[in-house]
Amino acid sequence: MNSPSTEFTRRMAIYEQFNQISRLGDVFNCGDSPNTGSSAIVEVDVGLENKAGYISCDQVEPSRSDQETNKPDDKTQRRLAQNREAARKSRIRKKAYVQELESSRLKLAQLEQELERTRQQGIYISSASDSGYFGLSGTVNPGISAFELEYGHWVEVQDKQTCELRNALQAHTTDIELQILVESGLNHYCNLFRIKAEAAKADVFYLNSGLWRTSAERFFHWIGGFRPSELLNVVMSHIEPLTDQQQLEVCHLRQSAQQAEDALSQGIDKLQHNLAQNVASDFSWGNYRAQMAVATDVLEALEGFVNQADHLREQTLLQMVRVLTTHQAARALLALGEYFHRLRALSSLWAAHPR
């Protein structure tokens, strides 16, 4: 039973799990905890000698080769059982992941079809009144059409993920399962910022105006999206109780997010001021070249601000998750998801409300 080859296979299985788990751990513990991943690899590579310094992972425990080889005792049985459990969990996770991939593939195929149809029909979705510069109104903007489709899909997935988080928290699943959900939640926000960056290149005024969001969300609008400081206000009551260290870090995060927000706001104000002065002054307004120069400059500058605002949102989210435990982070993302879902629902109510 404990022949050298099964010994080796078992150890390779442990090594693989270490790799997976420590990679996940790295995302949430960057810099804070010792890099368990590489030390695990070193441990296994150095040989089949066991060192007592195996990493604290509740699925594997240290063992001594001389002990096991001849005695199939309780320790061995327990370890085997734990390995089986770990392997089972790993298989479940893999299955869930593969299912998610399959459904994403289907969704992707559907989206691509829709996109193709939309492009062929040349549907113009963005608001007609303010999309024209220098008389170029009513033009088709395929970049924006594509963005609207992608964003619609993003919201669907967001709502689905929020449900998954809610179910997972209610069912008291393990931290590892929660970690996976938190990570995919963060990735999903990063996807949003990525598609927004593309849309900013197509029509930054559209993106900045928030026309693509619902009316309730637009009420809180700040440079193309939500305020980073709003984020922390929303999740505050859901992440308690916090340790003293966490209180301090959350306080710092709140402060620095507010300061960065204020700086960007002042930058945008300056941009508005400059543009207003330009438009109001007679001096350069005579010739087309000057107008074009002003227009291009403002476009580029605004794109820069929208990108920085999204960057700030992303960094604030990431730092928030870094400061919190897995369970707290899951609660935070759930709170955020529900908050925006409710704002969207409120907007529908308002739209349907008879006057």
């Binding site: 620095s256 204020d262 601000f305």
Partner: protein
């Protein structure tokens, strides 16, 4: 001749004006705790200046459009950042921090304030 070592490891003769723009950038960057290279018309530069002022820091600002050799410095900064945007660029304690996104990221993750304190730009 008086030689001055700066954080880039160059020995730079004080008497020469640093004909190489990169050297000049390094020299200017090492002369104050917080150095910002900017353009007076750039609004993102305005935002980064407001950020530091809001923290209680008094940065040294070089407006490249008001410098006779500003164009060279801009080009050098573009090469340094690997970016089409030369400004704003921030140096703290002579070390390159980066453009606006790096500054904001480091403020959010809590590394900016310790750097400022280390460089003597912030007390408390």
């Amino acid at each position: 001749m008086h030689y001055q070592v700066d954080s880039w490891g160059y020995y730079m003769p004080r008497m020469s004006m640093g004909s190489d723009p990169m050297e000049r950038v390094a020299k200017l960057a090492s002369e104050s705790a917080v150095v910002i290279f900017s353009l007076s018309s750039c609004c993102m530069c305005h935002a980064v200046k407001r950020l530091f002022c809001g923290l209680g820091v008094n940065p040294t600002v070089y407006e490249l459009d008001q410098d006779p050799r500003g164009k060279d410095l801009e080009a050098a900064l573009m090469r340094l950042l690997g970016n089409s945007q030369a400004v704003p660029v921030v140096f703290i304690g002579g070390k390159l921090i980066g453009a606006m996104d790096r500054v904001m990221a480091s403020h959010i993750n809590g590394t900016l304030v310790p750097l400022l304190k280390e460089a003597g730009a912030l007390w408390l």
